[in-house]
Symmetry: C2
Subunit: 337 residues, 2 copies
DNA sequence: GGTCATCATCGAAACGCATCGACTGTCGAA
DNA sequence: TTCGACAGTCGATGCGTTTCGATGATGACC
């Protein structure tokens, strides 16, 4: 193993000079810095992680806790893990993954053994054990999502309420009077992530305040249930003209197919908006307007805030990322009956 | 931070005694061991990870590399990551996740900085960069999957060839003469994981050797394509009586629905076997017989072999896990036309 | 009772790095 | 010419473990 000692010898300087040349924490003559860097390249030197942890105060590792519950939709959650990992690398950080049983217990372990510098909490529920834990742990932590009690926490999330209002406003402004929300399975609302209820509540409330008639359905994750739910939303007289979908990709695909099967055109008969989706709605049977949930958005910021806490005080806060609207041609005025 | 020093003082022994009491590497009187353990509990002591890495030769971290390509089916891959993480914990190991761009480059980095003790390579392709890398790296590594060139590697995988033969034999033994394989999208066979081609080739070869007529289809990941593909497999005269599916869950669900829509009963008209599936086939619209691909099976063994390499020489090998057959009532004799 | 092995414990030396204080030389201002 | 400021470099210390060799205590054996 080539150590900093070897580099120092090769460059003809002391160990501390090598360290400073690499960290830039003290000024070093350009010439000697170049010699050090050359030696590093020649010897393919990489600082020993353990030594760095011990001597410095940083481990360059972030813990990512993701419970991966039975009813979680893996693609979306994987996208968040990926987004955190990618963002972390920009700060020269790696991620340690704590799943399922380890999501809570592992946090305790890795922080008290000083294995990680900080924690990113993913898929937080309204009432999440891990939230109390990170509050007590006193380690730089950022929660992606908004639990009920945000006291003392740094939270980052898409503004789901605003997203719901944006969807409602867009439909209302286009002239729609009867709108529906195709949501997640019931279990998700009952004990799952926190944002589906937030979206639903804001959707229903804002629809009411805009004077719209609103419906809501929670299909299970199979084709038959999805088709039934969309049928219910359309109503016995098929008077629904605006459909908002906040559910996983295959359900949205099924919904679009059902509309087609019923001879309803998009957006001629029904306008459709996909809300808070992490996938590409252009790949659906019919491209849909979307208010995307971009994991990179919240995760980039979450990592940034975690790193920031390493060096300075960061006040507790809830940062909500404003939604954006991407048109793909699935929105139009309601049909003139 | 409470250190080993504090524990030693509290227990009235030396630092080295604490270390030996905890590691068990030298004999310690029962009485003093108890005192040490009591002190550890009282002070909630946990060894500093950095110090342990530096002084010992272990980091207690395993790298998991998973490219997470664009066409990967997230739920299955997540299941493997989870299985590795769970298995690792049984050896007191944590996992560092290297995704996408970092899947290859990160390996170099984390091994040369001595951050990890070993590597688990997931979702290996026939011709995978990471395979050459781990060969060169000379770090305990286990490949989950079987690349074309396995020289010098320790590989663990489900025996897909045997699984394919098992599916064929089961249908053939039940009397079926015309069978079909519903596979993954074309792109997966062309540049994706290595096992779909292995399964397909073994399926077709073994069907031929059993004198069966065999068909094969590669539907894209949407309902329409899936329905079309199943229709093709059934043939113009609908003479197909045995269907094997080796594709993702939603496609299998669609296929089952199509059969029902066509008025074909399972297993009355068509016998169906789900092969190498990571999900629960009992949850499909019709429960299917399955030759499951259990991530825990290969991942448990992979982690075991990686840990083993830390202390002893492990010869290169390819360990194939024999397939099992789980009946759920979707298999029967062909209809007597 | 002396010798020798065995057991339990201790002290000290790494492990590889970051960092602090100190030292040297250079330059500009007084 | 002298002094101070400052840039550039070095040596030494400490981070918290693991582990090696050494030491004293204990018991078995002749």
């Amino acid at each position: 193993m080539t150590s900093i000692h070897d580099v120092a010898r090769a460059a003809g300087v002391s160990i501390s000079t090598v360290s400073y040349a690499l960290s830039g924490k003290r000024s070093i003559t350009e010439a000697t810095r170049q010699r050090v860097e050359a030696a590093v390249r020649d010897l393919d030197y990489r600082p020993n992680a353990g030594a760095r942890m011990l001597a410095g105060k940083r481990t360059y590792i972030l813990a990512v806790t993701e419970p991966l519950r039975a009813d979680t939709y893996a693609p979306a959650h994987m996208a968040f893990v990926l987004a955190v990992a990618t963002a972390a690398r920009r700060y020269d950080y790696d991620v340690l993954l704590l799943l399922q049983d380890e999501a809570a217990g592992g946090l305790q372990r890795v922080t008290s053994s000083r294995l990680v510098d900080g924690i990113i909490v993913l898929d937080v529920t309204k009432d999440d054990d891990r939230v109390d834990l990170v509050r007590r742990l006193d380690v730089p932590s950022v929660v992606v999502g908004v639990p009920d009690d945000t006291q003392g926490l740094v939270c980052v999330d898409l503004d789901f309420e605003a997203a719901a209002r944006l969807a409602v406003d867009t439909l209302a402004d286009a002239g729609h009077r009867t709108v529906g929300l195709l949501g997640e399975p019931r279990s998700v609302y009952e004990r799952g992530s926190n944002f589906p209820p937030r979206f639903r509540d804001a959707f229903l409330a804002h629809a009411a305040s805009r004077g719209l008639q609103a419906r809501f359905a929670m299909p299970e994750r199979d084709t038959a249930a999805a088709r039934a739910a969309v049928g219910d939303l359309l109503g016995p007289d098929a008077d629904l003209t605006g459909l908002v979908m906040h559910c996983e990709e295959s359900i949205q695909a099924t919904a679009v197919e059902l509309l087609r099967d019923r001879g309803l055109s998009v957006p001629g008969d029904v306008s459709v908006i996909s809300a808070a989706s992490t996938f590409d709605t252009a790949a659906l049977p019919v491209p849909l307007d979307v208010i995307p949930l971009v994991p990179a958005r919240s995760c980039d910021r979450a990592v940034e805030l975690a790193i920031e806490q390493l060096t300075e005080r960061v006040d507790p806060r809830v940062e909500l990322i404003p939604p954006t609207y991407v048109g793909r041609g699935s929105l139009g005025p309601p049909p003139t009956s």
